[in-house]
């Protein structure tokens, strides 16, 4: 009896382990964010395009919004930029940018040349805001609900598929549940 059960159980356990571990769609470097379900970290930064304007999370209170962390040094951010422009065109949700480890001139040039999908872009001079949000790379995209809680985080370049499947339903659900 055991001579049969033990190898079969071991085989099933290994098969499950491999199915999960070797899944090509799984990004082994993507980590779950401990911020999910918690209050979004506050920030009050100057705007990349206009240093006299503030980008303040307090002003976004009561709104569902998307925070996209990017930088001109980040190749994958260039890759997702057209998708962000397309998303901005849909006017579903305000897109807030967080320009990370960057230079203002370069960021401004990037947005002027490629188009600006953001409602406003906070300029994170010294990376402190990024640390508060648990950012460890770019691009990273957060979804914040009307109560100011982080409800989703996506690490990797945004695609139309991810936007439709992961963001749009969550935005709708966040709006339905009030706020």
């Amino acid at each position: 009896m055991w001579k049969f059960v033990i190898p079969v159980a071991a085989f099933v356990a290994l098969a499950v382990l491999f199915a999960v571990g070797l899944n090509p769609h799984r990004d082994i470097h993507a980590l779950p964010s401990p911020l999910i379900g918690k209050a979004a970290p506050k920030f009050d930064l100057t705007d990349v395009m206009d240093p006299s304007r503030r980008v303040d999370t307090a002003a976004l209170k009561g709104q569902v919004y998307v925070l996209n962390v990017w930088g001109t040094w980040c190749v994958a951010c260039r890759e997702e930029h057209d998708e962000l422009l397309a998303i901005a065109q849909q006017h579903v949700v305000p897109l807030i940018g967080l320009d990370y480890m960057d230079q203002r001139d370069k960021a401004r040039q990037w947005l002027t040349q490629l188009g600006n999908p953001y409602q406003s872009v906070g300029f994170d001079t010294d990376g402190r805001t990024a640390i508060d949000w648990g950012v460890y790379g770019a691009p990273e995209t957060f979804l914040v609900d009307g109560q100011g809680r982080v409800i989703f985080k996506f690490i990797s370049p945004m695609t139309a598929e991810v936007w439709q499947n992961e963001f749009v339903p969550r935005i709708a659900a966040a709006r339905r549940s009030g706020a």
């Binding site: 401990p34 911020l35 402190r128 640390i131 648990g134 460890y136 790379g137």
Partner: protein, 149 residues
Amino acid sequence: MRFLRPTLKLAALLLSSVLSFPVLAAGSVDVYGELENPSLQARYEHITEDLRCLVCQNESIADSNVELAADLRRQVREMLIAGKSDDAIFKFMTDRYGEFVRFNPPLTPKTWLIWGAPFIMVAVGAVIIIRVARQRARLPLDDEPASEN
């Protein structure tokens, strides 16, 4: 001569490794220099060695040259100077980056398997060894003629 050459080679190798050591040490990634208070510096080194650099996930932030690691080292340094406890600093990091940021995760219900796995494996191994040994003890010795059983 035949004996001298390898010895010389060895000596040169040893010498070069000894000489290169201070160079490696001087290549440390810290831009701010050491903390003035030696006990703070010791805590700083201990904490930064226990925090994972999430960009290059097998390096600590003490070892990494990545910009994020430099920002996190600055954060640790500032919190130490501000008089924060080690626990407060680790909590600051895990609140933002999750338990994975620690190389040495604390023993909690979620991590008991990590800490317990080596003991479980030793126990499983011990059970197997004991069972095999007992089975062997019951077997006849190889050199005994089979007819005697």
